[in-house]
Symmetry: C2
Subunit: 153 residues, 2 copies
DNA sequence: AGATATCACTTGCATTCTGCAAGTAGTTAC
DNA sequence: GTAACTACTTGCAGAATGCAAGTGATATCT
């Protein structure tokens, strides 16, 4: 038996393989929109304020679906709408997203208010539990705002 | 006073801003090499097993330095060698990297042994404390192996 | 001392990816 | 029946990436 197949991955390191799945400028933003903003449709992702091009968005959605991170179903009341949802594998990215959020808020100039970050840092498990609960119960209420401004409260 | 300056960022969201800094296929791998493998030089990053091209590596090192995540100093005994080191802002990425590693090991086929991941998940704080200690004390011993194989122990 | 090797890049070029504008197919509303 | 809406696709220009080769400053060997 020979190992002729072209290697699927750069290496066997979990970090490297993870980055091959979501290591780009956009994928984690789509996951964030699904996870904490309650966005569900193509149009909502498109207008989430980051300015993603529609071809890139379509490509990322396809890739995330192929990776088993999101799944889709048509809206029962309006069959034009395709609703996206995180899979268990997708919601499992919550700790990754939380740590990225905390790091960014602590070390870069962002629009997130300091006291919110302090609270999240001190209550990581509670924050994650709430995010998971909303996913489980399909609670569509946004958990975090879009942070459009550069306010520092 | 007018807001004429071109916006530096896509949005004020900490996740978005973080991804502008390290949201690509390579940056976090360099940070991983510095953080848990004890790699310090250009050559070591180049041969870390992922196959990064030297021009990309040079570009990423420059960008990470500009972002304040790594810093450099010349080796005192061999002035050809430029040694890289994480800054406090860089070592603060440890939780991000740990969560990415755990997610990848749990949800993708990687070379990381299961029991190691179980241990890391159950002892996150101890793992982070050890990584931070090695950084603080400039302890160059690798904390994690390269996971080159696809072994499942 | 001179030749060779090492280290950290840089350069050139082909390929791939990204960003923008415009267009399309399948619903739904009027 | 027509217009609007939703989720894309297509075409094209420019940027980023990957690969091979080259460069300049040290260091080591003979």
């Amino acid at each position: 038996m020979v190992e002729n197949a072209k290697p699927k991955h750069r290496s066997g390191c979990p970090v490297s393989i993870s980055l091959e799945v979501f290591g780009d400028r956009w994928s984690l933003l789509i996951i964030r929109d699904l996870m904490v903003r309650g966005y569900r449709t193509f149009k909502e992702f498109e207008h989430s304020g980051e300015g993603i091009a529609t071809n890139i968005l379509a490509h990322r959605l396809k890739k995330l679906r192929a990776a088993g991170i999101i799944e889709t179903e048509y809206d029962l009341t309006d069959r034009r709408k395709l609703k996206y949802r995180l899979t268990p594998k997708g919601i499992a990215l919550a700790p990754v997203l939380l740590e990225i959020l905390i790091w960014g808020a602590r070390h870069e100039q962002t629009g997130a208010p300091c006291r919110m970050i302090v609270h999240m840092e001190a209550n990581r498990e509670a924050v994650l539990a709430e995010v998971r609960r909303r996913w489980q119960e399909r609670d569509p209420r946004p958990f975090l705002p879009p942070f459009t401004s550069r306010a520092r409260v």
